[in-house]
Amino acid sequence: MNPSSNEALYELCGFARVACEADLVMALEVDEAGRASPVASSPPHAFSSFNLSRSGLFDSAWSAIPAAASGFRLPTAVIHALPEMPASLLFVPAPAEHAPKSGLLLLWAHAPSPAPLIEHVRLLASSVASTLAARREAVRQVAMRDQFNDLLESVPSGIVLFDGDGQSAMINERAAALLACRPGSHRASELAAPMRALRERCANHAELEAAYAARVGNVHFAAAHHWVLGDKTYEVDTHPVSGDGQHGRIWLFTDVTAELRIAATLRGLAQSDPLTGLPNRRHFEEQSAQILTAAATAERAVALLMVDIDHFKQINDTHGHPVGDAVLKAVAGRCNDVLREGDLFARFGGEEFIGLLTITTENEAAVIAERLRNAIASTPVLIGQIAITVSASVGGATTKTTDPAISGILESLIESADAALYRAKQAGRNRVIMA
């Protein structure tokens, strides 16, 4: 509620009461249907609303002469605001656009002695009407702001809204918690420091500074970045909004920690082999393209190794599938232990594994292949009480290209390595053969 227009109406009522020696003066906001809200009175009194359509007040042509109250049907609330039945009354129409039957109602407990100012009370009408209109506008704005606040607090995001005038800003409760200040209206300048401090607390703040620095001064800029704050990640979306026809800006802080975690889990599930935890064949094919391109760009050679466990069917047949699975897991673990960071190693299918490595010398591939073979075969795999002797055959192939168009390379490497693996098996297993 706009206090100034309310106070003005109380002042007007008070002035009219003193000037006219009235016992009660009310400022009434009355719509076309006669629904009346008493918005101010002198003496002050709390009124609920009432209807004046049957009162007779609107059927008289009012001049400056009070009329006998007995000729009107006044609402009981008005009568009870006076210590006794009113004797006379005067209505001063003050039509406002939204409430055309508004006016000042003056009541006297006794017939008024002719106070000289009564005939001038009509001069207050335009002030009353314009103040009622101003009050209505203020009420409307408060209602809109309340509605807006409800909306602000009902969304699951922190919101910082800078008005188009560049002077004021508004933040909701969630944003206030992030920025460590109170929710509600602020001067725009008061929020700059907390916003900066929050960004500086982010783990990725250097990246953010760089991202935003380029946009400084661009009023049209819109961006969404992840702000990493402790164990939480917020997606921070900012874009211009028009406020007062100028350039306002909104910042939306949405906690996406849980979503990101779920997305990462799902991605992992889709990319890995559930038994061994190694990348699956599809993920291998996706990742190999990156390795091949990077190697071609760096003019480095690559090696592809196929690793196949010897007599795996026999292990399954002798000890059962659970033991077979345990062996696969153990082999995957042993291989992982001897590979280098950056080597891609995946379960290719069945008891077959595949590795893709960047190498400096052709010999390096053979060394790593031998390291894998040895890691698998050096000691028996212990499953519970059972010790199982395991070995694997390894076929390898290398290539070097400087053509970043890598299509077909993986396929031909696999073909060569597969052929080498076949030969290793033929030659008695548990050995490495490079193509």
Binding site: S48, F50, N51, L74, T76, A77, I79, H80, P83
Partner: protein, 266 residues
């Protein structure tokens, strides 16, 4: 639509004098069923549902207009004017008691007698005035109404009925449930927040107060206060309990009506 129609007005009986029955909070005009035949035999009888009460009562309720007892008094006067009634005997229960008093102050010529059953001009204690309630207790009442209306009714109804009458409790609960909870809450705030003592002091009409000896909403002190403050009032404390004697002890109430309205009922 007329106010009389909007408030589900009924008119029956063939007597020469108009009597108007106005029920209290949580009931509707069916609350008069036990006394209705007695009135119909003697009066031109008018009854209606208060705004917010009766079937689809929320349609007649205006949160601004009915935010004070005067809004209800305006409704009452509107009905009387609509029907062209020149003068009436008014019987109000509970909140309708002070509604009648407010209307009689505004339009004294319309009312020849006011009968008030379980009347209270103010429910809150105030210095020496005993209203029976403290603000903290009322706040608790409003909070439990707002939290779970159903549970509140289940607790409130037997206490207000005040006698072991399962049919009365069931009827009162039914009419309470008939109210939309937000309307019921606002109405009870209006009632319990009202201070009609000034109105009581200036009521120009002869008043007959009836109350029970044990009424959770209205201590006997309230009836005594009203009888002393009103310019022309009688008080009958009947040998009954509860806030709804017109439902639970109609014979007792009828006996008082016969005695007090003897001059009018020929």
């Amino acid at each position: 639509m007329s106010c009389f129609a909007k408030l589900h007005g009924r008119r029956s009986g063939a007597g020469p004098t108009v009597a108007i029955l106005s029920h209290g909070f949580g009931t509707d005009q069916d609350a008069w069923s036990a006394l209705r035949p007695w009135f119909e035999d003697r009066f031109d009888l008018i009854s209606f549902d208060l705004a917010g009460c009766g079937p689809a009562g929320a349609d007649s309720y205006d949160f601004n207009r009915h935010g004070s007892m005067f809004g209800y008094a305006d409704d009452l006067i509107e009905i009387i004017d609509e029907l062209g009634v020149q003068s009436c005997v008014y019987i109000g229960h509970s909140m309708s008691s002070m509604i009648g008093a407010a209307a009689a102050c505004a339009r004294p010529e319309l009312f020849s007698r006011l009968v008030m059953i379980g009347a209270s001009p103010r429910y809150l204690n105030d210095d020496a005035y005993v209203g029976g309630f403290e603000q903290a207790g009322l706040d608790q009442l409003f909070a439990s109404m707002a939290a779970n209306f159903q549970a509140w009714v289940a607790g409130f109804a037997p206490v207000v009925v005040g006698v072991d009458d399962s049919q009365a409790v069931a009827d009162f609960s039914r009419t309470l449930f008939q109210m939309r909870p937000d309307v019921a809450l606002n109405t009870s705030r209006t009632i319990f927040g009202s201070d009609m003592r000034k109105t009581a002091r200036r009521v120009p009409t002869p008043v007959h107060l009836i109350q029970t000896a044990a009424d959770v909403a209205v201590p006997v002190e309230v009836g005594e206060w009203l009888a002393a403050a009103m310019p022309d009032a009688t008080l009958d404390v009947i040998d009954a309990s509860g806030h709804l004697p017109h439902i639970t002890a109609p014979d007792e109430v009828r006996r008082i009506l016969e005695h007090r309205l003897a001059g009018i009922v020929s």
